[in-house]
Symmetry: C2
Subunit: 755 residues, 2 copies
Amino acid sequence: MKKMKQLLSSDLIKPLFKEFNIGLEKESQRITPTGDLASTDHPKKIGSRDSHPYIQTDFSETQMEFITPVFDSSEETLRFLGALHDVALRSLEEEERLWPLSMPPVLPKDDCDIVIAKLSDQGDVNYRRYLAKVYGKRKQMVSGIHYNFEFSNDLLEALFREQKEETSFEAFRTACYLKASRHYLRYRWLVTYLFGASPYAEEGYFFKEPANEPVRSFRNSHFGYTNRPEINVSYESIESYVADINGLVDKGDLIEAKEFYSAVRLRGTKDIDELLTKGVSYIELRNIDLNPYAEYGITMETLNFLHVFMMTMLWLDETDTPADELLKTGTILNEQVSLENPLEQTKNKEEGLWLLKEMQEMAAKLNVSVDYQEVIEASRQALESPENTLAAKMVLDSRTNQELGIELGNEYREQAFSKPYQLSGYRHMELSTQILMFDALQKGVKVEVLDENDQFLQLSYQGKSEYVKNANMTSKDSYIVPLLMENKTVTKKVLAKAGFRVPAGKEFSTMEKAEQAYDLFANKGFVVKPKSTNYGLGISIFKEGASFEDYQQALRIAFKEDTDLLVEEFISGTEYRFFVLDGQTKAIMLRVPANVVGDGKSSITELVAEKNKDSLRGTHHRSPLELIQLGEIEQLMLKEQGLTVASIPIQDEVVYLRENSNVSTGGDSIDVTDEMDETYKRIAEEAVCAIGAKICGIDLIIPDKNLPSQKSDKTYGIIEANFNPAMHMHIYPFKGTSRRLTTDVLHLLFPTLID
Amino acid sequence: MKKMKQLLSSDLIKPLFKEFNIGLEKESQRITPTGDLASTDHPKKIGSRDSHPYIQTDFSETQMEFITPVFDSSEETLRFLGALHDVALRSLEEEERLWPLSMPPVLPKDDCDIVIAKLSDQGDVNYRRYLAKVYGKRKQMVSGIHYNFEFSNDLLEALFREQKEETSFEAFRTACYLKASRHYLRYRWLVTYLFGASPYAEEGYFFKEPANEPVRSFRNSHFGYTNRPEINVSYESIESYVADINGLVDKGDLIEAKEFYSAVRLRGTKDIDELLTKGVSYIELRNIDLNPYAEYGITMETLNFLHVFMMTMLWLDETDTPADELLKTGTILNEQVSLENPLEQTKNKEEGLWLLKEMQEMAAKLNVSVDYQEVIEASRQALESPENTLAAKMVLDSRTNQELGIELGNEYREQAFSKPYQLSGYRHMELSTQILMFDALQKGVKVEVLDENDQFLQLSYQGKSEYVKNANMTSKDSYIVPLLMENKTVTKKVLAKAGFRVPAGKEFSTMEKAEQAYDLFANKGFVVKPKSTNYGLGISIFKEGASFEDYQQALRIAFKEDTDLLVEEFISGTEYRFFVLDGQTKAIMLRVPANVVGDGKSSITELVAEKNKDSLRGTHHRSPLELIQLGEIEQLMLKEQGLTVASIPIQDEVVYLRENSNVSTGGDSIDVTDEMDETYKRIAEEAVCAIGAKICGIDLIIPDKNLPSQKSDKTYGIIEANFNPAMHMHIYPFKGTSRRLTTDVLHLLFPTLID
C-alpha cells in the first residue's frame, strides 16, 4: 500500500477512484404534535416490518428506521431517503411527526412507557430487552445515520492489478478497507466537529445532566450510544478484528457481534466469521448525527464531504504507528471534540487544517468536481470559525432545543402533505408513477427506477420481479392488445364482432372515396375525425347531419391531421371513462369542462383565482388537475355567452369556460363509480375482456347512467379504449371518492401482497 | 314490393342500396406445362383439404377450388382471390399451371385417368362417384365462378320498415331474394352474352362435337354442367322452392339438394328445410365462365357489372307473368344465347338494350360511381358490337383455344414467381406480413386483414383467434417486454444484472456531466450515441480513445439527436443478428456493407447494375434487399479508396461502397446460422430469456464465430435487442440458407398447426 497516492492519481485509476456505492440508514423517533414521544404502534398503513425492505423499527416501537438501497451516487440515495420520509410521514396516525434530532425528545418518566419494538421475532425482542438491561432504555433512544460505503469494484480490481503485496483480490480489498477504517477511526473527530449535532439532551435522557454547557455531540461522546470503554477491537488485520469480537462474545462482554458499536464496522457478510474467507466488501460509518435543519436528516454537502473524506482515508500514507495506538488516539480526540463547546475553537485545529490540506491536494490531483472542492473549503472555514459548525448553529438558534425539534418536525410534516400526490425526489416523473412508487414503498415492495425519463420501474416482492412503465404498462397485458387499442379501426372491428355497439362508420384514405360516401351519413348525426390522432385535433361533429359543402370542409380539416380519416355516426349521451383492471370496473369518471360556480359577488376572474387555489391544481400534468386558464379560448367562450372575465355570475350559476372536457385544459374530474348503474360496469368489463386487456380505460357514451342497459341493447356506445389510461385523476378527483388504482396495479402484479 | 323503385331511390335508403357483401368460389384444373391434365395429387404444401378454408378440390383431384371469405367490396374479394392464386401456383409441383378456361383442357381418353378427388370423407367421395355415373366424368371437369351475393342488412331492414306487405323481417328478406332470383333467371342470358367464355371444347369433352361453329358458352348451354331438362323448381315462394327440391330428391331425380344446378341457388342455411323458418340470406350465382384473359378468372369490371346487375334485379318492377313462365322464358333465352355464334348479334338485342337502359336509369337515380356507369355503357356497346364480348375476343384470338390456355396458364405462373416474396393484392403491405399471410393461406390458417396500413392481421385456426401486427408482434409477448427493449439503458441494465456482457457505459443528460466523465473513457475504445435514435445518426466511434476536444465534439453531435446520450465502451468484433423465437435461435445473419466483386472487365457502374438485376433487390423495403445506389455517399467512399465509378476492379476484388452494413442501403444479408459456434446460440437464447421475450432480434458482437464462448466469458458483447426484428431478410437472404421464420411464428401462435 506504499505507492497508493501515486497509483490513485494515475490516469487509468483516477476516474475509477471517484466511483463508489452508498447506502443510508436513518433513525427517527415518532412524536406527537407537542413533541412528546408517540404512544401509538408502528403505523398500520406501512407494510409488515417482518419483510419491509425500507421502513423498519429500531430499538423502540417509536423509533422508525429508514433504509435506502445501495446507489452509485449520493443524489440518488438522498432522494430515495426523501421518498421514504414522504411515505412515512403520510402514513403516521394521529398527526404524528418525526423528531428531527439525534438526541431523543422529552422521554417519559416511567421506563415502562418506553416501549420496545413489537417485533414478531422473539429473538429480536429478546436482544432489545438485553440492550435495555445493559445500557438502559434511554440511551437506546438516540438516533443517527449510518453511512454504508463501498469503493467501486473496478477501482479495487485495477489497484489489485498494479500492487505487489497481496496475492488474493479478497485479501487486497480487505486491506484497503482496513486501512480506510483505521484512518477513519483516527480522524473521525473532524466529522464530529463539523457535523456533530447533539449539543443538548432533553429531559429524561440523563438522570443527572453532566454539564450546563452545550457540547458538540452528546451522541458521539461516551454519553451517547457507545460500548463500554473496555470493549476494544483491533483493526490491524481482519483476523485480529474477528478474533477480538469473537473473544468479547465468548467472554460475555457482548451478546453477539452486532452489539459492537464502533464508529466503523467492517461489513459484507452475514456472519462475522465469513469475513475471514470472503473478505470485507464495504464499511459502515455510524457516527453521523441527524442534522435537524435537513428535511431528511442529512444534506448533499455532508454526503459529499463524507465521500471525499472516505477517499482521503484510502489516499493518506500510513505511518508506522501501531493500529491500536492510532485507534486509541482517535477515540481520545473524538471524545474531546464531542464534548467541546460548539462555539469554541477545537484543540485539534492544526491537525484538522493539515488533513483538509491533504484533502484539497488530493481533490486537485484527481480533478474532482467543484461541489467537492467547495465542501472541503467550507470545512476549512468552519475549522477557523466554529460558529459555522452544525452544533454551533443549533446553539445559536433563537429557539430552545425542544422548540427547534417541534417546529422543524411540524414543518417537515407540512411539506410532506403540501402536495400529497407527489413523491419527494421523483416529482418530475409522471404523477401516476409517483403514486405507484409511493404505494409500493409503503407496502414494502422494492422499487428500482430503471429509467426516470421513461417512467420505467422494476418492482420486486417476495423474490418476484415485475417491470412497469407509466404505472400501468405491465407484463400482465400482452404485446398485441395495446397495439390493437392504439388502432381505432381495429378496436371497433373487434368490439363490433363481439356484439358491442360502436359508432358505425367508414375509413377513408382519399378525398374522392370519402366524398362518394356522403349520402351514407348526410341525414343523421355524424363525426369526421383523423384516424390516429388523439388530442381532439381535426375533429368535426355534426349532431344532425350536414350539407355536402360542410362535409367536404370537415374532410379537409381531418385530412390535415392524418392520411386516413374516419366518418362515424354520432351517438348522443354523456361520455364516461371506465377504468377496468383485471376484469373489474375499479373507477368511473365524468369529466366536466373548465367552469366556475357563481356566488353573486365575485367576478369570473376572481372565481377562477379562487378555484385555482385548490392544491390539486397545477401545471404540466404534475398535479391531478390543471389550473384553469383565462386565455383567448376561454374569453371567446365567455363572449359567446355574452360574458366577460369581469362579469359576476349569480349564486350557483355554472359558467363554462371551455367546450372540451379534458382535465388538461382545466376540466373537473368527478368520480361517479357508485352512482353508475351496475349494468354499464358489466358492459365495460365484457368489452375490455373482448379486447383482451388487463388494464384499460374504456370510454362509454351513456344517455342516462341511472337506466339499466345490456350489451345487446345498444343504447350505449363505446367510443374508445385506452391502453395507457391516466390513473391520477381517479386517485385525486375534483369531486367524489378517491379510487386508489395504483394499489390495484400492485395487487395485480403481486397477488400475495397484503393491503 | 310495388313501390320498390321509389323506396330504393329515397334519400335514406339509396346509400344503403349500394352496400353489399360478396364471396367468390372459383375452380381451375391443374395442368402440365404442355396443357395436359396433371396426374399428380393435390399439392402437399397446401394444408389439409379436410379443413382448409380457402383451397379445396372440387370434382376431380386436379380441379382446385378457391373460396374467398365474404367481403363488402369487390376489390377486396378479387385481391384475396389473387392471393389464393399466388399461394396455389407457388405450391404446385412439377411446374404445373392452372388451366385458365372454363371448358377443360384435352382430357385423357380413358375415364380412369380422370381421378375423382381423393377426399378423406367417404360420403364426399361417393357423391362424386354418383355424379360421374349420372353425368359422366367429363361434364364434371368444367370449371366456373360462383358469385355469392348479399344485400346489406341495413338496406333490407330499412326497406322492411317502409313496406306494408310482409310482417316478418325474414319473410320480407326472402321475398326480396326471390324477386331478384326470378329476375336473374329471366335475364341471365345477358350475363351469358357479355361474359360467356367457353366457345370451344377440347378433345375428350364431347364424344361427338355438336357443331363446328364456336358458341358463346358451352358451359351455360345444355352441353354444360346442368341438370336434366325435367328438373324444374319453382321460385314463386320459398315454400314451393323447398317443396320442389325435396320432391325431386324423394323421387330420386336428385341424390340431394346440392345436386340442383340452377344458375341461382337460394342460400343461407346449412339444411334446405331451414330456409322455411330462417329465410334466405344470400344467393349464389353459378353461371359465370372463367375469363381466360383475367389472371384470376374474373375482372373488376365483370364484378362491378354483376353487382349493378343484381341491384337491377331487385329494382325492376315485377309484371303479372307467373314465376314458372318467367323461368321457362329465361331458360330458353339463355340456351339460345349460349349457342349463338359469338361474332353475330344476339336475337335478344332489343330486350338487352331495354334492360341496360333500366340499369342506366337506376344508376343515375342512385348516383352510383363512375366505374359502374362505365361498365353499363360498355355492355351497351357490346350489345351493339358483338366483337366486344369475351367469347368473341377468344374466337378472334390468333391462337387456337389450346394455345391460348397453355400460353396464358404459363404467363400467370411466371407472374406468380416473378417476385415470390410478395403476395398478390397485398404488395404494399410490409414484406414480412405478406410472407406470413402467404404461409397462413397455404397452411389453411384463416387470415383477416384488420388494418392494412397498420399491418394488423387476425389469424384463426381450429376456432382459435390470434392478432398479429408487423408479422411478429403477437399475444405471446407481454406488453412490458418490447417497452423494455425499446429502452437501451433498461435493456442493458437487465442484461448486465443477469450476468451478460453489455458495453459498460453511462447515460448523460447534460454536456457538463458528460464532460466530467471524460477520464472514465479517455484511454480506451468508446462510442458516443444518442439514447434513443436508431438509424446510426449522431453516433461517434473512437476505437482507441479520443482527445477531450474530439470527445466534446462527439457529445455535441449526439445531443443534436436526443436529450440524452450514452457513452459506452467499444467492443471489437463482428456484429451478428440472432433471431430468437420461443427460446430457440432460428436464424443468424451477417450483414455486409453494399459492395461489388470485380471480374477484371466491368466497371463499378456495370458491376452495380449487374448485381441490381437480382430479383431480390428492390426499393422501399418491399423487396428483401435494396438496390445498390451510386450516390454521393458511395462515390465519396470510392474516392477515399482512390476509385471512381468507372474503375475496373480486378477479378474477385471486393469493393465496398458503404461503411454501414444496413440492408436498407444496399448491404448484403448472409445467413450464417449453421456456421456459428453453438455456444453463441445458447448465449443469445439465454439473453432473450432474461429479457423475457418470445420473439427477439438480438445483436451480438463476436470476435471469432468459430471459437466457443460462454455467458461469463465476456469475449462477446450484446449490443441491442430488437422487438420488431425484420424477418424477410432471413427468409430471402442474399447468400446462405433461407429460414422461414414466418412459419415459426405460425407454429408459435398455433402449436397444433401441421407443417
